[in-house]
């Protein structure tokens, strides 16, 4: 089973909500749509579901054109931010409700409800009412209602956004398991890079209605094809600094020049934009090659085991994530180090010119 988008676009009021997009989602895969608010995640999902018609392009389901097919006639289930259960019905009846609407037989309903409840670990709670359940169980009940129809395509639009942090953590561990047991195509929209990484599978990064990259999640994270993808897939935000390559040397910002290694060595001379992630900035000189920067400390944030350091280097503002607790005085000068192997170089158009050496090895 595959869902294939062929040049699908959506224009609303003369504005491109979704630029022509082509992608193929395969059976039994988890597909994360990652992007900030209004980047087009929900619009793209609505096109996949058939809730909206594309202005151009086709949608194929197992090779069959379903572009004109109503949402009711497709095997689609959608779960929104607000999980909703019927408070007056038992968990059993809540899960059964989509099948009752479809007028399935009692025996068939019973089989499907018990199977789905087992998958979501709700079997002991079937006779209870939703409000007698914990928050996590209530969400699982709502998920069960989405899954019970056996839809081939399950769309989850920021399903954990309104939940407590810890509950989110718990369900993030469970959702991949549920997904594996269901065998359906899952599409999961989120604004959070860490959520995408935890879910694994494939990730499509979105920016202003465009899918900027689509591939295995860890691959997109470590080898972004452009600066926009790198930016969308970094939390804390990716740090940037201008870089100049001259001969065999490269200079980052106001640092001293270093030898251009690996992919950087093959680049033509010129100006580039260097990007690196927060966890690769160090407060102490690392053992290997490193570039040293003189920075000014803006503020530190201590998480208990790690410290976020917010620094400025010239006009650039960076965030570093370093191990341990460092209570530094804001306003003071601070030296930070960066291993060039952790640096991505982007060209003037934001396209990746040289990947970070470490990412190739990982």
């Amino acid at each position: 089973m595959t869902l294939e988008l062929q040049g699908v676009s959506r224009v609303v009021g003369g504005r491109d909500h979704i630029h022509p997009t082509s992608m193929t989602l395969r059976n039994g895969t988890m597909n994360v749509l990652l992007g900030p608010t209004l980047s087009g995640k929900t619009s793209l999902m609505r096109l996949m579901a058939g809730l909206d018609k594309p202005n151009s392009g086709r949608i194929l389901w197992e090779g069959r054109d379903v572009t004109g097919l109503r949402v009711q006639d497709r095997g689609v289930a959608m779960v929104y931010q607000q999980f909703i259960n019927y408070p007056g019905l038992t968990v059993y009846e809540n899960i059964a409700s989509p099948l009752r609407i479809l007028r399935r037989s009692t025996a068939e309903i019973d089989r499907a409800v018990r199977h789905t409840a087992e998958m979501l670990r709700l079997t002991p709670m079937l006779e209870r009412k939703p409000l007698e359940l914990s928050g996590g169980q209530q969400q699982r009940c709502a998920l069960a209602r989405a899954l019970v129809k056996g839809a081939g395509l399950v769309l989850l639009d920021e399903p954990l956004a309104n939940l407590d942090y810890k509950l989110r953590e718990e369900l993030r561990v469970e959702i991949p398991k549920i997904f594996e047991a269901s065998g359906a195509i899952f599409v999961y929209a989120t604004t959070e890079p860490e959520e995408a990484l935890l879910l694994g599978g494939h990730t499509a990064t979105l920016w202003e209605g465009r899918v900027t990259q689509f591939g295995p999640t860890a691959e997109v994270y470590r080898n972004p094809h452009d600066a926009t993808t790198a930016r969308v897939f970094s939390d804390p935000p990716m740090n940037f600094v201008p870089a100049v390559k001259t001969g065999g040397q490269v200079r980052f910002g106001e640092s001293a020049s270093v030898a251009a290694d690996g992919a950087m060595s093959a680049l033509p001379d010129g100006r580039y934009l260097a990007g690196f992630r927060a966890n690769h900035l160090a407060l102490h000189r690392p053992s290997g090659a490193a570039v040293e920067f003189a920075c000014k400390l803006a503020v530190t944030e201590i998480t208990g085991s790690e410290t976020f350091i917010h620094v400025s280097h010239g006009t650039d503002r960076w965030v570093g994530l370093v191990g341990g607790v460092h209570d530094l005085t804001p306003g003071q000068g601070v030296q930070v180090w960066l291993d060039p192997a952790h640096v991505y170089l982007f060209d003037a158009d934001g396209r990746l010119a040289a990947p970070a050496a470490y990412a190739k090895a990982a």
Partner: protein, 360 residues
Amino acid sequence: MAQITLKNLAHSYLPNPKGEQDYALKEMDHVWQDGGAYALLGSSGCGKTTLLNIISGLLRPSHGRVLFGDRDVTDAATAERNIAQVFQFPVVYDTMTVRDNLAFPLRNRGQDAAYIKRRVDQIAKMIGMEAMLSRKAQGLTADAKQKISLGRGMVREDVNAILFDEPLTVIDPHMKWELRTQLKQLHREFGHTMIYVTHDQTEALTFADKVVVMYDGRVVQLGTPEELFETPAHTFVGYFIGSPGMNFLDARVSGTHAMLVSGAGVDLGDDHGTPSGRVQIGIRPEHAVLTEGQGLPVTIRRVEDVGRHRILRAELEGQPFNIVQPEGQPVPALPRVAFVPGKINVYADDWRVAPQGRAA
């Protein structure tokens, strides 16, 4: 600005509370420092909002007193408490300009025009809205409106305290970084007493000097982020702080030695006496190290690559056990897990047993 004292404070929503279970807020005694940044952290229903409402004057506590400095404000209305509040969703006047929105609390207090202009310009700069001061709030994004709410909360210099109720809920992750650091800078610059309610540990830990962890109507620990991470006072704090939270293993503890259910031994490093009740040892996933030689045999069930590190979902002693492994390190073929000495906590009936000879 003021020190806040919570004196034998407790609250029940019932008219005649019988036992502890009838209290939404169990009795507490706290003095919060003038100029401190405090976070109230807990999951929904833990009592943090009840406590905030008592401090803001929305709710009168059924027991105990609230003091701002030396003044007893238990019966004072919100307006008399001289506090600023920022809520989960933006509260802005759509028909007013951004400038007028920010100036509103100052105009209300009859401040002179020159001061208002100066102060509003200063706040606008802090929240990065200088360029938008003369436009109407209508049509701005939720992010921008919440920035105005934050700015308005900060605009008065003479408030006793600023209370924040989940102020970053509607904000995109990227913008959260910006706003959080701005709040932190504002706190440093103006030294207001700030109380910040959230369920998000990252927000609480990064914002606050002191985090008040609440569970089931009780303050289970009040400590620095480092204390909450390294020495959680209660198993709930161990679970709640950290992502994933602390691992717990049932054990028998005697002195510096712990014996797990399987009979395997663990060296604790410090003398913990002989605690009774349900005894567990707690190990942070960050303090569990994969080895090929030492330690206990462990089965890795699932590997989650989170980019900067990997979360290994493992099984130890037949129980789920999480290990955080730094980026770039391999998983051995026959993995064993060792615990960082001195980083193991001991719990008896969920409360931490401090090692003997060490105050903490």
